[in-house]
Subunit: 430 residues, 4 copies
């Protein structure tokens, strides 16, 4: 990720004229705006340390921009489900209400649709009873939808509804949409904060080392791999093929495979692989069956797109390029390959995506989503805008939206994760 | 189920000339061959009680046919996976070895294939270490395959391998195969016992009120329904469609739906339903979306076969008629229906079958499979043959294979289960 | 269980003058009051079949006693937690409201306390939103407490609150209390129905083959046994001692042990065992450690009461005799035994009861509790009173409260369950 | 943590004269010994960056010290159970065997006992079948014990057994023991490597941001808190008190409470709290009961030691000071407090430690333990010794054992975790 110090500067609505209500609490450690987290971890003798490549540290500010008594905040959740959405909603509400004393918190219904009164349902008022038990539920109690709305209409709506702060919980496309809304707000000279909370089950947003929901997804995916392994082992020439999430990055496929230690092939977008020939996947699969009698293949949905004649040019409502169906292709080619060679083979194909993404958050993701949500509130109350909460290894940080959406995060193939996968699968180094 | 008393008579290899080793254990309560379990439960005043319609009670016999010191037993698991298979293997082994003192227990590999030396791998010898931890694993450690083998070859193999007892763990087709093997044994005048242990995740074998693996399947399926419900609720016009196992009977679909209480439509083989028109499924779905905004549909794989132009005539290797793809049909028709009417609708289709059937048995199925396995050993050691262990409500019984495979068990639509489903879904009474 | 036909006769408030609203539903199969379920299952040649020993079958009646339009029902949950309580509350409400059209359903708070206005909080009105998601939660949303209240005060309260039907969900003591309330109602000549729903995680109520919550408890207990087994195996001379529920009957200890197959000793109230001497438990434990190096002991809380100098005479608020602490006794005696003999031994003691009983119901118990709840509503609407829903193997039945509370159900030591435990543990036949 | 650059220098056995077998694999990225991970994350303008305070980065070295063909390695697991132990054993074996080609890998039985032939059992030879499925099991298949052994005897044993590399998997005490062994080896001038893998379910070892097993423990503990919350809510004046692991640090109590969001009081060793008086815990509990009717208390086992008259001076076999029983004290004082004030209160006490620590590792811990294990092998093969694998946020590093055991890691009370707990509980700031 190449980025200049300027691209990491956080926008602010103006001077912070109010004392944080947290000042009354003795033990709170406020964070200065100047405190920054180094991007660089490692150093070789003689190396320079790039102290200007750093991210603004998240956390409570001593002085805040918005007067809690007169502030209205709204929360919107967009895109596909990810474990932890309800935890984010709940913790944003609790931090606004109980820490800052904000009295009016709105829940926008069904994603950005709910910010366009022409097609969406009106917001609901969030209160204590609404959030009481939602942290133990999967999905999002506010509903979701895909795709952006006209920023003019959205900002009209924010103005009419007297919404001062908008929390946008969602992925890549959602954050891009949040950035556009923030720009429209700025264009009009309004003093409204737009703060993003990154939600990506695929874990593919830059400056977010680990996004909430991802570890829960690994947990669920690993269970599926265990089932698939059982199926493969039970059958004569048993092959189980599991398609997992991962449009642009193979973090889920690789992570689940590394956790399970039972996968024999992991196919990810970052590693194009040949299908045919002596170096090809099919031949390697044949050899595996010969040696061990069964095989478990894990394919990210974005893997093997180079195997299709031409790229897809259609997009879904979120603006994601529609992918070719690698699961279907592999099924077909595996079937043909073994049938032609008259080798007994039983193929089980499993596509568990909806099951994986709609479960409640596990303990880790409950903690992570809570932390992110509360820091998003601190940032917004301090008047930060057009930014997103990030997580640089062990520290929560502020990331300008434009830098967060400039590109997708991908696996570094020389890194622990992929090297671990290669070691545990023994698959060819394509 | 119509059946005559004669059809419930159990075959035996001959006189039981050995004392059961269990005689040494004070607390065992032996079961007399004459002790029978009434099929009839209910009675109205004036009704006759059919005492001759009864099943031979399972359990240890005081006198046994086979001399444990010189007996070899073999276990074969066939057909699709079901939670509890490893528990059955383990408990058969332990009962043979530790209760009866049988020294040689073989594991046939990959189903009936392993009884045909031309294509199968040779049996393995089962010992204590082999079974030590398998009761906590899904699948079958012996492997499985579909389809029968030539009974002549099989009985040749049993004779050569000096196998005296063959335990056939499997469904409808497997039991039919077991019956044919038993007949070939009888034709040759051999003294070998063939005892079936019913394995049907669909719970569709007669005289087996509840088969092992079924409750675990409900447990797993219910989790999937919860995920699907979450998906449906999150989306605009959210419809989740879950295809579950159930070729001929809707027990899994109905049971999981009744457990979850969140399903709105349950489609099963026993209830043909119209798709179009005012009484049709699609119109009912539209109304549900109008009223509540989301819907959860559960379809057994054997549901709605009448909606296809003509019955399928191809069969899989197990002899099951290949079904038309009701999941695919419903997906397509639902999409078209709402697109034509311009009603926003988001469809999520989930097919979790492999995930459901390959998990380890839950506590209940661990108990049930253990009971069935040990009773199968008692029956076999007593020289019973051409029979299967049944479970008539709370009692384990012996069922002649021919009666067990004469037809499939289906849901009684006036019974608790289906009535409960109708009440909890509120779906039309088709 | 000795019982006379007269003791199985169900009381009724009077003639059923209303048609059931279910009559409008074509597929319902009404149950006649005369339809009875035989208690006897088995028969030997020459045996008499006791057709008069039978239980009234539960289910919807064609004619009902209460006019749904003017009827108020109330639900109370008492005693210790059991998985499924919220499912019972929800299904009673839904059946009353949606099947029968009853408009007013009250939730009594914190058990029988809530029926005594002097000490309890007033009832809440149950509505659709209240029950919407409670079936996925453990515990009871109505709260609970132990012990009865003065029946005069209770019936005063029922009269003042115009409660026509009272559903009492609870164990032995709760049902006894329900019977006393029903008698007080009858004494006053009131037309109020009292219907019990048996809740016993220990599974020890007569005429209830399987009570809701019990299988979930086995599931959870089995997980604990697996953890305990892991602890025992890891340590030098590792002994894990797990105390499980089971005051009067060992169903949980035996069932969990049978499911786990890893327990080596199961101590239950039904089987007094010697501690010392060559036939004693401690010597058997020593031998087990010698042979295998580790041991897993499961003790029901009511086991080994004979080992204490004299019976306890104090009772808890529910009227249960307070038990001596067998867990503590065993810990101490095991420690002393091995210390005296200088044998290395590491003891881990686990008491998981609260964790086991407060989880949500599993799929099976969700189904079972739903069935019981809906049948309780059928019975109550038909004017049955002073009775409890029973479950005689596969059939739901009506049981007079006095017969249900006459004694506790215990394990039959010659039956499948205990015999299975003896076989899987290999423990001495005390 | 104060530490000097010198204290972070890693010892090495000598020159690396062999090429790593990994050189043959194109994609591997070797790590230079000079590559270091900065300890410092954050910087304020004007702050110095301490580049000399850094840790040697872990990972495969291009040149290695030991010749795989002639090297023998041994693995020992010590102390209490933690999820992931079997994963560590398995991954160490696989990395040694398959990546490096080491042929002889021994498993030391039952902790350091197994290194003292006078009392321990001899090592077992680890092979592929032994480790095949152990990654899905809790506990340690090698067994464990507490306490060190005489280093003279241990090094004699290593010499006799021709063990070149010893992997010591364990906590604080185990690592201290490993350091002493390494010193004895050095004293004798032997060329044997001792490499530690930190195992601390409490997560209290310095330079290990997150230890394997800890997140699984949070997951399990959170389930227990959910059950406890259910118990508390069900009862009149319901108070649930859960004692969790955490001798010196409150990471488990705080993490589980933060995940659950249902705890009202979290008591940890880092925060002494008064019991009595207006600022005391008991009064705060009374107020909570008044306001909300129920309360959930989470206490780390090392909390509140200041409440006992004098410190304990006895130690367990691992050298940990025996703690006073805070669970027992709180139970008693809570009971007395409410009884004296005549306030209805029901207390449920839960101590789930053994259940939490003996489950299999979750996906995250499977990954983490695999990474640590493989890096331990890289370090050992490169001749590093008297060191432990660390994890500094997102990077695996080498830590000298003396620095790792110099003190225990504790929660920073101004940090995210504890601040999050204060916010989610609303408890007093003691």
């Amino acid at each position: 990720m190449r980025v200049s110090p300027a691209e990491l500067r956080i926008e602010s609505l103006g001077d912070c004229e109010h004392n944080s209500p947290l000042s009354a609490t003795s033990s709170v450690q406020f964070v200065e705006d100047e405190r920054r987290v180094l991007i660089q971890h490692e150093v070789l003798p003689g190396d320079e340390i790039h102290r200007d490549l750093s991210l603004e540290k998240a956390g409570p500010r001593r002085r805040i921009f918005f007067d809690p008594n007169t502030t209205t905040a709204a929360i919107v959740t967009c895109g596909g489900l990810s474990p932890g959405l309800n935890n984010v909603i709940r913790s944003i509400y609790l931090e606004l209400r109980h820490t800052y004393g904000v009295r009016r918190v709105l829940g926008i219904q069904h994603g950005y649709q709910g910010l366009n009164p022409a097609i969406g349902e009106p917001p609901i008022e969030i209160h204590g009873e609404f959030v009481e038990n939602i942290h133990h539920l999967g999905g999002t109690t506010l509903g979701t939808s895909r795709g952006p709305q006209d920023p003019t209409l959205v900002v009209d709506f924010l103005a009419q509804s007297e919404i001062d702060i908008l929390f946008c919980v969602g992925g890549d496309g959602t954050q891009r949409g949040a950035g556009i809304i923030a720009q429209e707000i700025e264009r009009r000279g309004l003093l409204k904060s737009v703060v993003g909370v990154p939600k990506t089950i695929d874990n593919d947003i830059p400056f977010v080392s680990l996004s909430f929901g991802h570890i829960t997804a690994l947990e669920e995916a690993e269970k599926v791999l265990r089932a698939a392994h059982t199926e493969a082992r039970g059958a004569v020439g048993g092959v189980a093929l599991v398609k997992l999430m991962g449009r642009d990055a193979g973090f889920i496929a690789a992570g689940a495979a590394l956790a399970s230690q039972d996968a024999n092939f992991v196919l990810v977008p970052e590693v194009p692989f040949p299908l045919e020939g002596e170096d090809g996947f099919l031949y390697a699969l044949e050899k595996r069956l010969q040696d061990r009698g069964h095989a478990l293949i894990v394919a990210a949905e974005g893997a093997g797109q180079h195997l299709f004649p031409q790229p897809r040019d259609r997009q879904d409502a979120s603006g994601n390029t529609l992918l070719h169906d690698i699961g279907g292709l592999l099924r077909e080619r595996i079937m043909i390959y073994f049938r032609e060679r008259n080798i007994p083979m039983t193929l089980k194909y499993i596509d568990p995506s909806y099951i994986i993404r709609s479960v409640p958050a596990n303990a880790w993701d409950q903690i992570l989503s809570n932390h992110m949500a509360r820091r998003a509130v601190h940032a917004a109350m301090a008047g930060k805008t057009n930014m997103m909460i990030g997580y640089w290894d062990s520290e929560f940080v502020h990331v300008p939206i434009c830098s967060a959406v400039a590109q997708k995060k991908k696996m570094d193939l020389s890194d622990d994760l992929w090297q671990g996968v290669l070691r545990s699968t023994g698959q060819p180094h394509w």
